[in-house]
Structures are given as C-alpha cells and as structure tokens.
C-alpha cells in the first residue's frame, strides 16, 4: 500500500503546542476550560494538550475521555456492532467550556455523535473543537475551532494518526484507496 507521511513527530509536537496556545488565547486563560478527548486517540491528544497547558499556564485542566460508540448513526448497518471504548468524565461539564479533542476531522459524524453524548452529561457554556488533522469532505455542518494541519485528501484515501502512547510513534499517514470496513472513523 502506498502510504506517505503528512506530519512527522516534530510537526505533531509543534501543532499541539500551538493549539494549546490558541485555546488559552481564545478562552482568555484556562479557568473555565475542560478537555474531553474522543476515544480512541482523541483522549491521548487531550492529555497532551493538558500537559502543554500546564507547562504554559501552570494550570491543571481536567481531562476526560468520551466514547461515542453508542451515539453513532451507523449502528445496525455494519456487519457487527461497533467496538466500544471507555468513557470517563469525572467532572461536571455544566457552565464550563468543553474543548472536544479528536485526531482526524473528516465527515463530521463522529463530532455530531460526540455533541449528542456530551449534551447528556450536562449543559456546557460552550463546546469548541480541536483536531490534529482536518482532511475535508464534510457531510454535516461541523467545523473545527483549532486545527493542527489542513490536509486536502481524496475521499477514498485513508488517513491514520499514530501516537506514541498507543502505536509507539508519532505520525500522520495517508494510504491509497484502502477499502476498510472496520474502524472507519468519520
């Protein structure tokens, strides 16, 4: 499979730092902010952002993980019920600014599911979206507030993010026309 690298580990590191700064700038500090990463890999990125914010602002921001499997719109369509991950949100989201964090923004359906899930946890003041890669091809009216890198892709290409915490290294990869049915993230 022809695969090429869109971002290497240095670029990812810089993107994370920049996004952390942008979150602080936009929200005038970290006081009302909580981070919720969309499992899987979104939560690892959320933890990295929290670490950056701690370094920059000397402030610990609460981090949670959200599994959106039960909110997906394709349950009953795939051969098997989609795989489930962990949800852990130990803090109150009411009256806070929730920054959703995900690795790749594509059709927007994952984010739509995440919004539905989040709203069941409470009523945030605002929900913002931070993504490492925006690859276009939106099918719903969703947009990211903070973007690591905008990458134009063909719809049939497969964009994958590898993270040190899970995959042993940091990289953003694109592969040609892989017809994958499983683990297809929108």
């Amino acid at each position: 499979m022809g695969s090429s690298s869109l971002m290497d580990d240095a670029e990812i590191g810089r993107a994370v730092t920049r996004i952390a700064h942008e979150i602080l700038e936009r929200n005038k500090g970290a006081e009302a902010v909580v981070l919720v990463g969309i499992a899987a890999r979104g939560d690892d990125l959320a933890r990295r952002l929290a670490a950056e914010i701690l370094r920059i602002e000397r402030r610990a921001v609460p981090v949670g993980a959200l599994d959106i499997t039960f909110y997906r719109d394709d349950i009953g369509i795939r051969a098997e019920a989609p795989e489930v991950h962990e949800t852990r949100i130990d803090f109150d989201v009411n009256d806070r600014v929730v920054v959703l964090v995900d690795d790749v923004l594509f059709t927007g359906r994952t984010i739509r599911a995440a919004l539905d899930a989040l709203v069941d946890f409470g009523r945030p003041t605002a929900i913002q979206l931070a993504v490492l890669v925006d690859r276009g091809h939106r099918e719903l009216p969703i947009r990211a507030d903070f973007v690591g890198k905008n990458v134009p892709t063909r719809k049939d290409e497969d964009v994958r993010v590898a993270l040190r915490e899970v995959d042993g290294r940091d990289a953003v990869l694109v592969q040609d026309a892989v017809t994958s049915h499983l683990g297809e993230r929108a």
Binding site: F70, R72, G76, A81, T87, F121
Partner: protein
C-alpha cells in the same frame, strides 16, 4: 456473535470477554445522570414472559429502555398471553409487530429454540424450564471478574438444587468455558449423576469444600420440590447445606458469596450472612442491567437481518 442467545453454547470464550468488556461501558452509562444512550433507537424489544419474574423482566426492560429501544411486555396475567393461545401463534403475532428481539422466559425447556423457528428477530433466553439461564450466568461471570480480577483458575462451588436449576447449568458451562474450577455441592438426589460430563467436580459435603473457594454460589432451594421426596426436610437441608455464620468463617478471606435471587433467607443462606460485605448479591442485580444492555447492543447492533429467514433454530 451468534444470532440468538439460547444457551451458553451460543457464546465462545472470546464472545464472553467481549460481552463483559462491553458491559463495563454500559455500567459507566448507569452512573451518569442521563442513563440513556441512543444506540438502539427505533428498535423494538419484546419481553415474552410466561413465568412470573418481576426482577428479570424489569432488568431487561431497563436495559432495553436505556438503549432507547421501544419495549413491549407480554406477560402472564396480562391479557396478551391469553390462555390457550399457542406459543407459535404468539410468536407469529410478535413477528407481525416487527419485534427486533424477543426476550423469552418460559417454563418449558427448549421453548426459545422453538421460537427461533417462527420469528425472524433475535431471541434471548431469559430462562427456559430447567435448561438454561444464560444472561444470569453472564452477569455472574462479570461480577466475579470485576471483584476478583479474573475467571481462569477461580475455584467456585455451586450449592443446592442443581438438578432443577437452569442457573446452575448455564453458570457451570460458562465457568468451565472460561477455565474456572467448578464443584457442584448438594444432596445426592439433587446433583445430576451425569454432571462430571460437564467438566465439573461433585461433592455432597459443603464443609469439606468451603476452605478452598474463591466463590460460594448458592442456589435457591425450591421448597415445593421437597414434596417430590428429594430430601427429607427444609431443616435437614439447611443443616447440611445452608450457608450460616460458622460456615462463612471457613471461607477464605476475599472470597465472594453469590446468589441469583430471590433468596430463601434462613434456608440456603442465613439472613445476616446475606448482608455481609463479601456477599455481592446486590452487585449482581446492578450488573444484570449492564450485561443485558451489552447483550442487546451486541446482538442488535450489527446489520439488521432483513433478508434473514426464520428457522435459524
């Protein structure tokens, strides 16, 4: 996973792990303020309960509702399951209503199998006669894993009227499948003579096995059966097999006491024993909802069987 859950035979060891892992997520949902997810929105789950069992039915009902499915209850006592209407006719009616899943509890062993011949939806066995009660076994396995961290090598005793217990069958088969070490304990007349074929040991002496257990699982003794002369009296049963305070002292530290409910306090288990911290009977109930949610999700979350024919049994 198989299309139906009729017996523990329908799930492999890998399936069981997957069910338990999925149940973990649903347990978390149960801790939220809004204990509901839209996963099975638009699906219809029918509870077909020929035997009165409020607890199991409510557990399934909650499980389905928390998945946002629509629930229909057909139970005896209501006008729906009228006297004289055959199981087949009831099945065809449910089919016509578009039931995606039917949860059936019936006093005749094998009825869930027969149901699969007449309906297209998924069939879940909520207890058939003296045959099996797979969802109970799965929630018990989940509870054991959650409290003790593993299933393989666990030493479990199942105590009581094994002969007439569908829970005992499902649980034995499930534990053996997951590599646990099972001993059936009870009066000789209430332990099936062929039980060793299930991969389990048999003992007629509870005191002998207590000190080597990780889990002591008590079955409800049907005091009505006593009339069938399987054992002389409830008193004698309690004396030989009841889990009383002094027997609990023999259990190793950290071991669990479990019971599928409802309990005969004072017969198979003393009242104060039931309320001890190592008794996880309440957990079993809570976990029941999460495990049933996991089962409904895994069975119905895959592609809808639109072209599928009835007759998978």
């Amino acid at each position: 996973m198989n299309r139906h859950l009729l017996s523990i035979d329908d799930v492999s060891a890998e399936d069981i792990v997957r069910i338990m892992d999925t149940a973990e997520s649903f347990r978390e949902v149960g801790t939220r303020v809004i204990k509901k997810v839209p996963a099975l929105r638009g699906r219809t789950v029918v509870n077909l309960f020929y035997e009165n069992s409020t607890r199991t039915r409510i557990s399934f009902e909650l499980a389905a509702k928390r998945l946002s499915a629509d629930v229909i209850n057909f139970s005896t006592g209501g006008s729906s399951v009228s006297k004289g209407e055959s199981l087949k006719d009831t099945a065809l009616t449910l089919q016509a209503m578009g039931a995606d899943a039917i949860v059936i509890r019936h006093s005749s062993s094998g009825s869930p199998f027969q149901l699969t011949r007449w309906v297209r939806g998924h069939v879940l066995n909520a207890g058939d006669g003296t045959h099996e009660h797979p969802t109970q076994a799965l929630l018990d396995l989940y509870t054991m894993r959650e409290r003790l961290g593993r299933l393989e090598g666990l030493r479990v005793a199942i105590v009581g009227d094994v002969l007439h217990s569908r829970v005992a069958r499902s649980l034995s088969f499930g534990l053996v499948k997951m590599g646990a070490d099972v001993t059936l304990v009870g009066p000789a007349t209430l332990v099936p003579p062929d039980a060793p074929h299930w991969g389990v040991q048999v003992s007629y002496d509870l005191d002998e096995v207590l000190s080597k257990l990780d889990v002591c699982y008590l079955l409800r003794v049907q005091t009505e059966r006593q009339r069938l002369e399987y054992f002389p009296s409830v008193r004698e049963y309690a004396r030989l097999f009841g889990l009383n305070r002094s027997r609990v002292e023999l259990l190793p530290e950290g071991s669990l006491i479990m019971h599928p409910g409802p309990m005969n306090r004072g017969v198979e288990i003393d009242s104060d024993v039931a309320d001890l911290p190592q008794s996880v009977i309440e957990d079993q109930v809570t976990n029941g909802i999460a495990v049933r949610m996991a089962l409904l999700y895994l069975l119905l979350g895959g592609r809808r069987g639109d072209g599928e024919e009835a007759g998978d049994g």
